[in-house]
């Protein structure tokens, strides 16, 4: 590709409205998405590819399903500069990620976390990690196990020993 490929007035064929370049992303399960370069570069990983001129053909996004990638793209669209004029409106929209009492919501958040981690999207990673942290604040150990669907692999003796090791954390 030409060296001008990263510039806005790209010479590649897939240009559209106001010569904004489109990138093609392919999810793990084969779904294809066309996304404006200006939006997709909110991902540090993709920005690196664009800067290195490697984003000229389809970009495979491994470990991320089409369903999750669609959510990520929605996130990008909302967070594009100028997309939402009002900070409050954006916060309200983001607040949908805060309610993760439901198992399926939690699954979505874990998926988004994996995607945000792989694609390196700091804003999305921040939002999802703090949602999970908020949800487990004030929970007892058993409640946490239930929340995360984790079965303890400690027997009672081991658990007691561990409790004693960090006793200060379990006193109120």
């Amino acid at each position: 590709m030409s060296t001008a490929a990263t510039a806005d007035a790209s010479s590649s064929g897939d240009t559209t409205e106001g010569s904004v370049r489109l990138l093609t992303l392919q999810s793990e399960d084969g779904e294809v998405f066309e996304v404006k370069e200006t939006i997709a570069t909110q991902s540090v990983t993709i920005k690196g590819m664009v800067d290195d001129d490697c984003a000229t053909s389809t970009i495979p996004v491994c470990n991320v399903t089409g369903r999750t990638l669609a959510m990520v793209i929605e996130w990008w669209n909302k967070h594009e500069i100028g997309a939402v004029s009002n900070e409050k409106e954006l916060k309200e929209w983001e607040s949908q990620f805060d309610t993760i009492d439901d198992k399926s919501d939690r699954d979505d958040v874990y998926d988004l976390l994996m995607a945000a981690n792989y694609l390196n999207i700091p804003t999305l990673l921040d939002c999802c990690t703090s949602a999970v942290a908020e949800a487990i604040k004030g929970k007892s150990t058993d409640e946490m196990r239930e929340f995360f669907d984790i079965k303890s692999d400690f027997d009672e003796k081991e658990e007691d020993a561990l409790r004693k090791e960090n006793q200060w954390a379990f006193e109120n």
Partner: protein, 178 residues
């Protein structure tokens, strides 16, 4: 394929697919006490909380020093110091440990009295990979209120005192005074 497999078949499936650094990121947003409680959830989580890179010290009004052998009087004088009214201190025995994962320290309600400085020096000395220490003279009780940004004499004295800190900060650590 990843999702929609019905998590019942794989009990630890959901959260255990997250890499450790994401879990540590989540724990970093909890208080240290809450993060430490996660150590008994499962063996994989046992030491994860110790990797959190943030530690926020919020000085409580009274400090429970029950574990030292101090007499009642000593305990009392420690409490007075933490209220910032007395400069005298009697307890001088906390364990020296090296903190190998601590990167960022935020000091809220830093008055600059000896006990504050001592804790700051202690961390500068013992947190081996410390990158940033920020010092905020605003009392934790005023944060989020109208008075948060009120710049009174007290704060200015605090700023002067923190200059003492600057002399002792190694080059690898960034000192921010809010």
């Amino acid at each position: 394929m990843v999702i929609d497999t019905g998590s019942d078949d794989l009990p630890e499936y959901c959260v255990s697919r997250l890499p450790n650094d994401i879990i540590v990121n989540i724990f970093s947003r909890l208080s240290l006490r809450e993060a430490a409680r996660t150590s008994i959830v499962s063996s994989r989580w046992r030491y994860l909380w110790t990797f959190t890179a943030n530690l926020v010290f919020v000085a409580p009004k009274t400090v429970d020093y029950g574990k030292t052998k101090g007499t009642k009087n000593e305990r009392k004088s420690f409490q007075l110091i933490s209220n910032g009214r007395y400069r005298r201190r009697t307890i001088n025995q906390f364990p020296r440990l090296s903190h190998q994962h601590l990167k960022v320290v935020e000091f809220i309600g830093f008055v600059g009295c000896p006990v504050d400085l001592e804790l700051a020096f202690y961390l500068l000395e013992n947190a081996t990979i410390l990158e940033k220490m920020s010092v905020n003279p605003t009392s934790p009780f005023l944060i989020g209120t109208y008075f948060e940004f009120y710049n009174d004499e007290k704060k200015q004295t605090t700023r002067k005192r923190t200059k003492q800190l600057k002399k002792r900060v190694p080059q690898s650590v960034e000192l921010v005074i809010c």
